[in-house]
Amino acid sequence: MLVGAMVGIASSLLGTFLVLRGNSMLSDAISHSIVLGIVVVWMLTHHQSGPVQLVGAALTGLLTVFLTELLASSRRMKQDAAIGLVFPALFSIGVLLLNVYAHDVHIDTHTVLLGEIGFVWLDTVSVLGYHVPQALVSMSIMLTLNLLFIALFFKELKLSTFDPALAKALGFAPGVMFYALLMLTSSTAVAAFDAVGAVLFIAFAIVPPAAAYLLTDRLWLMLVLGAVISVAASISGYFIAVHWDVSIGGTMAMMTGAFLLLAFIAGPRYGVVSQRLRRQRARGLADVSESALY
């Protein structure tokens, strides 16, 4: 549960910027293609986790983005088509390498997609004499890194997200910001891998920020709300999963969706209900002013 919450906070913080930039699907692409990075690093070093793994996978994430931009900038296809080409290809290579070289590794293809947060307790390392789940350690490192990154570069991130042209003019190097953001995204995806798997990482990266985006116009409030929503989703998801004996990661992701729907329907400013009410009120006013004319 704690791991889930941390995955949620870490990924929703970064996801906020991706959603605002209109790059949500990049997190999908990255989370799939890092499989290749994980496999390659495993083949080279036989490390399944740790900093090497994080860096390797992060590099694959960057490779994905770089290839996508390359294809899109050749002006022969749109960016979404480029994404749709690059990540399945990289993912395929990863799966094939797994097929050939790594029959008996723990990273089998199922954990890759689904993850099993219930098993993180089996994989412990000892820190200061306590047995701590490994995922918890790696997630807390990633969370700290992400928090630091956002705290340090808040102004730069804000500017390069909302006005890349101005940011460039002021010498902030929005491109570097963008790649740093994606580097962190892919590292977080790797760290989150064992716990929630590739697809559910996307749920945590996109859905809470999207829900928060429906609730507020302020960037810092959006960050906070995204984090709160993911924590709430983790906790409620955990209890539902235990109650019905189903996948914990799955229910957590489902709960983020429930919160999104709630925001979508009942959000105070942008929700469907309030929009309709406002429209009706506007029509009422229009009627009044119209009758006043005559």
Binding site: M25, S74, D80, L85
Partner: protein, 374 residues
């Protein structure tokens, strides 16, 4: 296995036929998805089909192709609708809406999958084949089923060809003509969903995205017409399907889905590089030729100008000494526009001098006129 004996292999026949059918349907319908800027819709739908697969399984109680397909269609369509609702009614952009639907429906699917595992139904095996695809599990009946769906989809496409074309390229104009644009939109999306669902068992959830996009992008390189593009895309789909299936049968236990996708990606790369007109190779050739022509014009212009200024002067104008210029001068000489001569200079080593021939003068006059006109 040798090349000949695999042709007799029953499983291989099924897999290849299935892969070829998948290639046809995803290539043809994928063209529309890519042109409409919905490349990632296939990805979202394929993920969203998972809960449907599970529901179909729960209702039917076994791995029955029909009920699973119906279930997958239903949740896939539901996801597409939810996506539309999110983009139309809220301020989320398409990408966020896509990602949201994709991950949420997939999460529900995962939950249902673990629920089914919890019930301990003996026939659940093969259900998770939908995640990664398991081409070897393709039965002859599945092939017939896929063939039927492909036939239906192609017939509908042929019947609605004009409308689909117009809606794809100019929806506004179609609307003013009084066409039921939304209906045709829904039809196309439904058929893309159908293609995705058919492919799930072969290549799996993740790789289906590539099967929608890759053949279409490759075909776009070779054809400027929608009809040509659709046919070529279907052809590319078939070739990559058959190639992938063959390699996987010959190789040692390599998964079919990834091989199919990689074959398709390879075709895309080749098409990007080589296709006449739009290929990168052709474009760079064109660039080089343009640069060469410009340079030739510059040299002629400079020589002509100097000739006008100092008639019969011994000194030829200064020309850049780069390899490119040297090559350009050599080619001009070969074309008989220039002559080279070495003056008997007193000082050190005499530089080569260039002079326009009569043809060169004529050509240079034209160039000069062109430069002055511009």
């Amino acid at each position: 296995m040798s090349w000949l004996s695999i042709l007799d292999d029953y499983t291989f026949q099924n897999v290849v036929m299935g892969a070829a059918l998948l290639g046809i349907i995803s290539g043809a319908l994928g063209s529309f998805a890519v042109l409409r800027g919905q490349s990632l819709l296939g990805d979202a739908i394929s993920h969203a089909a998972l809960p449907g697969v599970c529901l179909g399984f729960i209702v039917a109680g076994s791995r029955h192709m029909g009920s699973i397909i119906v279930g997958a269609m239903m949740t896939g369509g539901l996801a597409a609708l939810l996506m539309l609702a999110l983009t139309r009614l809220s301020r989320l952009k398409t990408d966020a809406a896509l990602g949201t639907c994709l991950s949420l429906f997939f999460a529900i699917g995962v939950v249902l999958l673990t629920y089914i595992q919890g019930t301990g139904n003996a026939s659940q095996g093969g259900l998770d084949a939908f995640l990664f695809g398991q081409a070897a599990a393709t039965l002859r009946s599945d092939v017939w089923f896929m063939g039927g769906i492909t036939l239906v989809a192609l017939t509908v496409l042929a019947a609605l060809w004009k409308q689909a074309k117009l809606v794809t390229f100019d929806a506004e104009f179609a609307r003013t003509l009084g066409m039921p644009v939304t209906l045709i939109d829904v039809m196309l999306t439904t058929m893309i969903t159908l293609a995705v669902v058919v492919g799930l068992q072969m290549v799996g959830v993740v790789l289906m995205a590539a099967m929608v996009v890759a053949p279409a992008v490759a075909a776009r390189q070779w054809s400027r017409h929608l009809g040509g593009m659709v046919v070529i895309a279907a052809g590319v789909g078939v070739v990559s399907g058959v190639t992938g299936a063959t390699i996987s049968t010959l190789g040692r236990g390599l998964a079919t889905g990834p091989l199919i996708v990689l074959s398709a990606s390879a075709i895309v790369l080749v098409s990007l590089a080589l296709a006449p007109g739009r290929g990168i190779l052709w474009e760079s050739l064109r660039l080089v030729r343009q640069r060469w022509t410009l340079h030739k014009h510059q040299i002629l212009y400079v020589l002509y100008q100097t000739r006008l200024e100092q008639e019969e002067s011994e000194r030829s104008p200064w020309l850049g000494r780069s390899a490119f210029t040297a090559f350009a001068l050599y080619r001009l000489k070969r074309q008989g526009l220039l002559t080279a001569f070495r003056p008997e200079a007193a000082a050190g080593k005499p530089a080569r001098q260039w002079r326009l021939t009569p043809e060169g003068v004529r050509e240079a006059k034209q160039v000069t006129a062109m430069f002055h006109a511009a």
